[in-house]
Symmetry: C2
Subunit: 514 residues, 2 copies
């Protein structure tokens, strides 16, 4: 029941300077003669056709001819880019039929189990921007309540196939992934140079912060360029065995990026979707061996060992079926790892560890060595159990630092400011005692309020850790900010609570430093 193309009057494509993010948006005049605008409403879906190219978009109407005239078709920036037809080309607009794969989504809502072919079709439509926000939400929520292991595998496979798939000419390609949530914790930037210095291939892609004060890509950007394309990334890895780049330009699992963009505002977070998301990217990145770090702590994503075990089993199940060697470890997620929270402060920690600076945070060094040890054990030439010693040798000899410098050179120079925020405040302990707990969520929000990651040099430097004895008035951490309102807001947050639990009685009883 599609209209013959000739029957539809043509509109001239015009670029409209509106950034509509993931959504394709088309703007037409309410007086447009090319369609019957009464048939459409604002935010209805339309199909644009030009030559043999089509694009689904969300429609907005206007009465303002200077914006879009009656014989024009306005395209928002993302729609214009994705449609890839020059301004002035002629296109037609018809009401969009929803993608066929929505039938499968509706079946899933009714409780049916989806076949691999149905999931393939959904992911293909997702990756090609054929789903509206509400359609994406429909798929996510229908899968959130229940997903079989078969569906999980099919989703992982389909998402991995939907974007760039990197092939490496190596039998072993290792990778690590942390599910996040812990402030600081920039182990990848120490693990990658150690593993690469040893000679294993470790092409690490990382994300930028969305709700946290820094992602590995934000912190690495303090030291080097991170927005490499696939070709550039491969060159760096061929030259240095490893890289530390932003995943955004590499386009691994674009369907997953789209799902995440809806998952996040809805705060829907299921184990299955997390595993499909991570594993699809690793599969597309060509990893053969993966180490997954699951921090467990009261303010971490996983709050107890049972949750961590269930997630571990899901990773192992999918890994086995994808023929990827997956190892999952639980780590201490009760407090920040390293002293810095925010890109510049974290980068300082990372480089201090690699430079064997005596003031370098010991916890960051230890955790990085432990993770690197696991990865090095994947090398068949290394004697079993020798991973940790080898990792420490590569770090302490300066080999890891030299490898890091090679990687930085290969990726190219950073263009970021690297100074710390000039507005600082030391937040004092409100009483004598021993630090019993640190609220990671609160410190993350505080560092973000202070300006991280937008201001690379904003954030928090942590002085006191769990088990430390403190005296009243002694600084717990220091805030760095550039912007006065943000600084004031951060101070206001600390006035309402430092995020530290200090138990004075235990200190008085002399039970500190347990």
């Amino acid at each position: 029941m599609t209209a013959p193309a000739l029957a539809r009057p043509q509109l001239r494509i015009r670029r409209v300077n509106l950034d509509t993010g993931r959504e394709n948006v088309a703007v037409i005049s309410r007086r447009s003669k090319a369609l019957r605008p009464e048939l459409f409403r604002g935010f209805s879906r339309v199909e644009l056709t030009c030559n043999s190219r089509t694009l689904l978009a969300t429609l907005l109407l206007t009465d303002d001819d200077t914006l879009v005239g009656p014989d024009e078709l306005g395209l928002s920036e993302p729609a214009f880019r994705r449609f890839a037809e020059p301004a002035g080309s002629h296109a037609t607009v018809t009401p969009a039929m929803p993608p066929d794969s929505l039938d499968a989504v509706r079946a899933k809502i009714k409780g049916h189990t989806l076949s691999a072919a149905e999931i393939d079709a959904i992911v293909d439509d997702l990756a090609h921007y054929r789903y509206s926000d509400m359609e994406i939400a429909a798929f996510l929520i229908s899968s959130a309540s229940f997903m079989t292991s078969g569906e999980l595998l099919a989703l992982t496979h389909a998402m991995a196939r939907a974007g760039t798939q990197i092939k490496w000419d190596k039998p072993i390609v290792v990778d690590k992934h942390c599910i996040g949530g812990i402030p600081g914790n920039r182990t990848s930037m120490i693990v990658v140079p150690i593993v690469a210095a040893h000679g294993l291939t470790i092409p690490k892609t990382s994300s930028r912060a969305i709700t946290s004060p820094a992602g590995t890509a934000d912190t690495m950007e303090v030291l080097a360029r991170v927005d490499l394309g696939v070709g550039e990334m491969k060159e760096v890895v061929n030259a240095c065995n490893g890289c530390l780049v932003w995943g955004g330009h590499v386009n691994l699992s674009p369907a997953d990026d789209i799902l995440i963009s809806v998952e996040r505002p809805l705060s829907i977070d299921t184990r299955e979707q997390m595993v499909a998301s991570i594993m699809s990217k690793k599969l597309a990145a060509g990893s053969t061996h993966l180490l997954v770090d699951l921090p467990v702590g009261p303010a971490a994503k996983l709050t107890n060992a049972t949750e961590a075990m269930r997630l571990r089993k899901l990773f192992e199940f999918v890994g086995d079926h994808l023929k990827m060697s997956v190892e999952v470890i639980s780590t201490d997620g009760r407090q920040p790892i390293g002293s810095g929270i925010g890109p510049v402060l974290e980068a300082q920690d990372v480089m201090a560890v690699q430079a064997r600076d005596t003031a370098a945070p010991a916890d960051l060094r230890e955790k990085s060595l432990r993770l690197a040890a696991h990865l090095l054990e994947y090398d068949p030439h290394l004697r079993g159990g020798a991973g940790y010693m080898r990792a420490r040798e590569l770090l302490d000899s300066g080999a890891a630092l030299r490898q890091m410098e090679r990687i930085i050179d290969a990726q190219g120079p950073s263009t970021c400011r690297t100074d710390l925020g000039p507005l600082t405040a030391d937040i004092p302990a409100p009483r004598d005692g021993v630090v019993e707990a640190i609220d990671c969520l609160r410190l993350n929000r505080l560092a973000r309020t202070a300006g991280a990651p937008i201001d690379k040099g904003a954030g928090i430097k942590v002085f006191k850790r769990i088990g430390d004895r403190v005296e009243k008035g002694e600084p717990l951490y220091r805030i760095y900010a550039f912007d006065q309102p943000e600084y004031d807001l951060a101070i206001a947050i600390t006035n309402a609570g430092t995020g530290y639990a200090i138990d004075g009685r235990r200190a008085l009883a002399g039970e500190a430093k347990a």
Copy 2:
């Protein structure tokens, strides 16, 4: 963790000529100093504040100062209207926290049952445009898979309370509702004048077509004005005992309108949501007695008696708890009711029945009399079983026609064109035989393709019904259209299939007119 208002630079409100339908949209410059646009992305949600008023909106970014400058806040038409602050006023923009009631939606996704208080909060946020499309979809889909009877009642109550609630100074206020799907079927426009002529109060609100070729409001609009507000509607009912107005201006159950606007593009249609939708509107409209018409047929919304019974029980359950007297009847939904499909053609049928025209469609007359009889039986003064006779008396005496004319006068004159489309085609039977089935969905789509309801005089006039014997070449129905491309497209659809099943063998065996 809200910023003090003073810390945020102010933006000047500017109206942007974009119709964004239900969604509030704000446009800011990517160079705006009032916020950190890097913190925002296209299609993220923001909270606008001016004086003590707030509004949640979806954000678009622009680099075009002529559209929205760096110190301006652009508001799309619906957002400007709902924010109700004059252009040039100063407002602040902050990232929006999702509505608190989303926690309950997330709990529902995880399989929890919601309390009445949680459902109240969700409906309140929905009705105040605080949910984005994807959040609305999240609620709908989480409820689509499972809803307890307690949740259904709470949702109905909450939706009824969220909008206009009409009180009538009458012990009995009757109403009828058809769940739709059958072409033609304009019984309300005959039932209302009969019941009103008898003296019962019947304040009928109807919908416009969204996916069908006509709603009762579209057809009534051929005869009278239908976009009355609550005050005007009450005046008409006080003067005439009844009315036939569009529900859109009366604002009964606005939360339901918002849910429907997402349900429809997703084609999610659950019994519970249908019942909550209908019953919330009847409750808000002040109805005490309701007759629900459930057409059953192979291309109707209900395809068998079992489905109809389950839906009937849900209506009865909710009616009992709302203290509303609800009667539910199943009717023949195998074919169109009346001969016209499309506003003008349907209005002609309705007036022909009331004028006792010998060519008036007998099926429309009979069904209307039957429904009116049920409603009249609600009158305690009428002897039990006398409803049908009384309805026929009111129709055949011309009392119903005079009542209809009074209602039309009271609502005001129509401003619509009432001519039929000049492009017509009679669609011939492809063979001799007996009509065995008519595909209602196909006829609906055909009438809509021909231009209904936008072109009031476009549509289909049906000549042959189930059981009729036809000869090859004899017209089954006539298409009316105004627009050549739409006409061509309609013809193309009939070439692919008339929508009529004609069984030649049965006709040859002389078994016709069963």
